[in-house]
């Protein structure tokens, strides 16, 4: 699996123009039939995401919901991550499709749904004064969330906000999240309540510029 993902990542990077000439030659020389299928799939997904003409063939209510949700969000911008995120954008599709849970087309729809409902803005080009052109999302597994929550509670218990009384520290904790601690395996994989309070970023949300989306 590790090898398979490695090749998929290479193909994705190749499509993003991120490989050197030498790496490109190596990847091209090693492509087999399955890889070519993957390449074809990535291209289709890329076209689907980038092309307004292709998008026009898709579900109108879904697109409107996505558009509405995107308009309401403040976009956190991390220009320095442009290429990394672009890469991960494709990887998200790859991971869904590679798991055999959906076709590439379905993966695209699932991914967009995740984008809308599970948050996480991203970007590109803003450092050059352009509007937001791309976004990416980061879904989080149950084990990640449970561990993070456990750390968060531990941190609050022992945090030393010198000037701030305990109400400040404890007012920031939702005791309901404590249920999840120690119950990693029982926690639902798609915990819709988590997105109400937890934002997950691929990179620093606050060291970067914030702009209103101007699509």
């Amino acid at each position: 699996m590790g090898d398979v993902m490695g090749k998929e990542e290479q193909i994705s990077a190749m499509l993003d123009g991120e490989l050197s000439e030498q790496e490109l030659a190596q990847v091209l020389a090693s492509l087999d039939e399955g890889d070519l299928d993957a390449w074809h799939g990535y291209s289709m997904v890329g076209d689907l995401i980038r092309s307004s003409e292709l998008a026009a063939f898709h579900d109108e209510p879904l697109l409107k919901r996505i558009e509405g949700a995107l308009e309401q969000e403040v976009v956190v911008v991390a220009p320095q991550l442009k290429t990394v995120l672009k890469h991960r954008f494709f990887e998200a599709f790859v991971s869904i499709a590679a798991a055999g849970r959906a076709s590439f087309a379905m993966a695209a729809v699932c991914f967009l749904a995740v984008l809308v409902y599970r948050v996480v803005p991203l970007v590109d080009g803003v450092g050059h004064g352009q509007s937001v052109a791309a976004r990416s999302a980061q879904t989080v597994g149950a084990a990640d969330l449970a561990l993070w929550e456990e750390y968060l509670i531990a941190h609050h218990h022992h945090s030393v906000n010198g000037a701030i009384p305990s109400w400040s520290s404890m007012g920031r904790i939702d005791p309901r999240n404590l249920v999840m601690i120690g119950q990693v395996d029982e926690k639902p994989k798609e915990d819709s309540s988590a997105s109400d309070w937890l934002n997950v970023w691929r990179d620093a949300p606050y060291d970067v510029s914030v702009v209103q989306q101007t699509q």
């Binding site: 030393v160 010198g162 701030i164 305990s166 920031r172 939702d174 005791p175 404590l178 997950v200």
Partner: protein, 336 residues
Amino acid sequence: MMFLLFNKPSEPVVKTPIIHVLKAFLIFSACVGPAWSNDDNLWKTLASSREQAENLSYSGVLVSHVGAHSQSSRFYHQKASNGEFELLEHLDGEAARWLRLNQDTQSVLPSKKQIFSEKRSASLKPLSHFSSEKAIAYLKEVYSIRAMPDKRIAGYETLVVQLEPKDKYRYEYKFYIDKQHNFLLRSEILSQKGELLEQVGFSEISFDIGVLPNTNLFDAESGWQVTKTEARVLKNNELPYTLPNTLAGFRQLSGFCRSKSKDRQLYQFVFSDGMSTVSVFVKKQDEAKHHSRAVFGHGAMMSKSELQGGYLVTILGEVPETTLNLFLKSMQWKTQ
């Protein structure tokens, strides 16, 4: 000292360079002195408001905005005969309570009949780290303090105090202190770009609450599930790594081994600059489980994980990512 400035009229006036220096020093002190003492007063006011939060009895509606999440809670605090008692009761969503009696804490979830209890470490009692001259001196190293225009909060006139970080490793704080009771009514954490990351404060408050009928922790009846977490203070030699005593103004405080059972232990080391706290968590990497190394954020709280050797290292705190990276890079592993 002032006599040096005035010579008797009958004596020849001899101006020496040292007199010029002294004059200049005194004039400078007269101009700048009040500003210094004003800053000191602000620091003392802040420290004193922290003490008032412990000494007064009060109740009110506490509203927190953390990232996109907001929560209203009813909060009670009483200096009772059995110690310092606090009760926080969520008003929104599912019922949940958080209680504290001195260093013992409980989170109570009535709908699930669950109680999570933990004893706080007395060694990390915030006051002991803030009120001393030494602690304020540490804070002065990394924050500038200044008063901002007064503001009315929850019906009270407040003094607004801003702590501005002197470097990129911490966030800005704003405190709204009720002038009448010298009580902190609201605290805010802002990013380096001035974005409001977290705000916790009272929307209404009363300092005349009488005596609460019950200032004891929740007594679980049969059918309730109680989960206890024990926190043991760690010694440095128990950790597989070392970190500098001071890192970007964050000083090592204590390490804890928090455990719910023999199998579930969490190693945490705490650093603080007196205002912000950074926790370092180290967990032996479980081969069967893959943990994301993404940056997690919730309000001002942010964490970043990295695999180092056979360990998953997670740095978490109300600090920018730059600080998380600095801690991750500064880990020195002992020979194993």
